[in-house]
Subunit: 210 residues, 2 copies
């Protein structure tokens, strides 16, 4: 997609503003008015150019039929479908496969230190002492760069698990936060496991989960 010209960016800004303020996109006449065009056709031509460049989509024969394409839409949160909530994950399938997505929830990303990419429902009490209970949702930031003592989401023989990470050389321990559970030891030279991400937050529906 080619770059937008400054004037075209102004038009996009104007459309965003109209949607934010009035809930509806502007008409050609309103665009012309705002930018002091004497001709509505100037607005029309700009819209056509923006459509060619893929910034907007024009619905023909429709009043105010201007649709901002994703990249030009405002406020990530505002338009984002929301973080996918991943439930049980079937063996051999990617964690974010559509089948696993139970719902989507919108949450201010700045509630967390690092932006989460998805939510995962936790089963079992193995992380109880870390304040993660059965049924809780953990907010997960997808990354493979993790440090010791971080709580991570890992994949181990097709099971998804949430544990505290500890590595020494080629040996990795997945540490539960509950005395009733045993650590899982992994030898990186023999076994393979995948790190899906790091837990950046927890969301609990207190009344439902207990």
């Amino acid at each position: 997609m080619r770059e937008l010209t400054p004037r075209q960016r102004e038009i996009v800004l104007l459309i965003q503003e109209a949607i934010r303020n009035n809930g509806i996109p502007p008409t050609r006449a309103e665009i012309a008015g705002a930018l002091k065009f004497r001709s509505v056709n100037a607005a029309e031509q700009h819209l056509r150019a923006l459509e060619r460049k893929g910034a907007i989509e024009l619905l023909r024969g429709t009043s105010r039929g201007i649709r901002l394409k994703d990249a030009f839409r405002e406020g990530s949160l505002r338009t984002m479908p929301g973080l996918p909530l991943v439930g049980r994950v079937a063996a051999g399938e990617p964690i974010l496969a559509e089948e696993h997505i139970e719902a989507r929830h919108r949450i201010d990303l700045d509630l967390f230190e690092a932006p989460p990419h998805f939510l995962l429902r936790v089963h079992g009490m193995s992380m109880k002492d870390a304040g993660i209970l059965d049924g809780d949702l953990v907010a997960v930031h997808r990354t493979s760069e993790i440090r010791n003592r971080q709580i991570i989401v890992a994949r181990l023989e097709d099971e998804v698990t949430v544990k505290r990470y500890r590595q020494e050389g080629h040996r990795v321990w997945l540490m539960p936060a509950n005395a009733e559970f045993d650590p899982i030891e992994i030898d990186l030279r023999e076994q393979q496991f995948t790190i899906e991400g790091v837990v950046v937050g927890v969301v609990r529906d207190s009344m439902r989960s207990r």
Copy 2:
């Protein structure tokens, strides 16, 4: 604001859907078409009724000039300033006083069983075994109707505290979820305390809080 009729709710739903799918509100004709009205005026009348009830705002002389009022806007997230985050509460002041509001955070309300009215930062580890750690945010639904064993936010001699509720006759215990803390006993005939609400959820920024 009076309740909406089922038919009126359908109209609101339709408007939400149109905005979600097309980015623009529907015309009267589109509403009539979708609901199989033979007359566009049926749609007009519904819109007028919805405007009277405060669900929408109609921009006169404007095509697609339908604006959903906050409470009826989708996601509520989109427009809501967000749940107020309450930090330390000063003695003698209402919990939601402006001075206590550290920030506002937008969260899908349907993440929780009951809609939260505000977030409160928890200090201390007294609810550790209930998975509520120091620095966590609890989502609070303001109500005075609470049942035994629910985790509540109470006010006791100008201190705001989160504890599990237990009542027998005129005696109330505020139970910590941590063996290192003692229950607080209250005699309703002598002491007075205020119930600020019930905890409906927990939100934790894992990386910041530890």
